[in-house]
């Protein structure tokens, strides 16, 4: 199986993003970092496929080291 890079949330994409921002809304920066870390771990477990997780990590890393900084 290969990583799905198309929109997999359909019309719920905006709602999902709004939920993510809402979860962060009243957190301190440290708490926000922790939330992100936990979320990644929870979602990795939900994906449940090592191959997919490796592809996702590669996609997320892509360009990161060569970036001059924030986009």
């Amino acid at each position: 199986m290969s990583l799905n890079t198309d929109n997999n949330l359909g019309i719920d994409a905006d709602d999902a993003y709004a939920a993510l921002l809402e979860a962060h809304r009243h957190l301190t920066p440290e708490q926000s970092q922790r939330l992100n870390a936990r979320l990644v771990l929870i979602l990795m477990n939900q994906v449940g496929e090592l191959d997919i997780i490796n592809q996702a990590i590669a996609a997320a890393c892509n360009g990161l080291l060569t970036d001059t900084g924030a986009p």
Partner: protein, 541 residues
Amino acid sequence: MTKQHYQPFPTQTPPELKGAPARVYPVAIIGGGPIGLAAAVDLAQHGVEVIVLDQNNTVSVGSRAICWAKRTLDIFDRLGVGERMVRKGVTWQTGRLFHAQQEVFNFDLLPDTDYKMPAFVNLQQYHVEQYLVDRAGDFPDLIDLRFNNTVTDHVTSDTGVSLQISTPEGDYSLQAEYVIACDGANSPTRKRMGLSFEGESFEERFLIADIEMEDDPFANADNAERWFWFKPPFHEGQSALLHKQPDNIYRIDLQLGADTNPEEESRHENVTPRIQQIMGDKSFQLDWVSVYRFRCARLAQFVHGRLLFAGDSAHVVSPFGARGGNGGTHDVDNLCWKLAAVIQGRAPASLLDSYEQERGHGADENIRHSARATRFMSPANDMERLFRDEILSLAADLPFARAWINSGRLSTPCSLIDMPLQTSDTSDTLADDSRCGLVAPDLPLDNGDWLLASLSRNSFTLLLVGVNQTSIIDSSNLLDALPVVTISLTEHAQRRYGRGAFLIRPDQHIAARWEGTDLNASLVRLAWDRALGLADKAHAA
């Protein structure tokens, strides 16, 4: 000023100042912007006499609302100005999204030839107002446009509203059974009543400029586009939007940031260099400049007894997504047939509560979408900014991220599915596009006309698709009052409706539907009563 000449409308001395006997008007509308004028035309089409009171005597200055969505164009077509708007307006189909120097993606709103109206037309608000004023002239006995008439006070009672009006020729008072306040985002009516207008304000300031320019900025001059930039090279760290309007006028929206001095920023000598950075050496002329702050807010109630709010006076949204002018037009569409039915004794006054329910739902949806778009452009904190920036940086390579880029979710009709006026929908064979509570989909007819244009402009219509009228209607006097449109089951009709019967409200929403031959006159009567707010009677029947 260039192309647009703000010609004063003729004014006449109100009859009240000429000693005419006092009378009660069915409806008075406060505010002669696009919403107030559209409401006047709609009510007149329903046979309701209406007075429009406007404090100015010209169309509004500056382009203001410019993007009119397909649903709104269908409404304006029902009001008799839609074709003129499309003829004059710029139909655009391509949107491009840029991040820094790079085009991240583009989308195509293909002009589907299977609908009468295009997805979007850009047209300055002042043209729309002019067309509506011209259209109002078709109803000399029903529409009385009173310019330079400023409402200074009002008193509501159980039977109507009394208005105090100031004119250059003197002051007078006027009685109306119902008043619609279409007096804009800073509604004096709302303020006079001390109603709270709650929601979310954003710190960022935005600058709008209209420029007149002979050269076209787009690659293909015959194909107007919408361009949106995040962090463009010409406007450090912010966002920008470019739209084309008729008469070689371009609209540019620039995000300015929170610590901006609006007066300073709107001075032409400060605006011009910013535009030059976008347009390079193309020669242009500044037409109109405005600086504003985003706000999303609404009244808790749109109906206050005999006083009703519609458009920006009832709800405001951030502009990206074009939900202000469009949302207000949808209010008119929803309200006027109900108000006419109440005034003409065909429906109980409680039908107006459904206006608040249905359009409150629409306002919430518009506010939700526009608040999200605003937060995407103007993140509330560092973490939001981080997510936003990483979405932008992933979007060029990974398509899923593009779905999250939010430069405004463009106005679409809101669904009234499962709301009380609609009869519950039990069909599993009819098309999803024609579920009860949705806008009836348009389609081309065999005779070259379009379906929506063939529906009644001011009453319910029974649409029969691929079924024979005589086989299902078993009562005669129902049809005396209910226009019937029969169409054949073409491929379009099959895809958008299916074989069956559809009760369509005057605002072109589907109130009830029946498969094939499930229909008899008493079912139609029941659904029709329900859609007129006579549900109790309907249940008792």
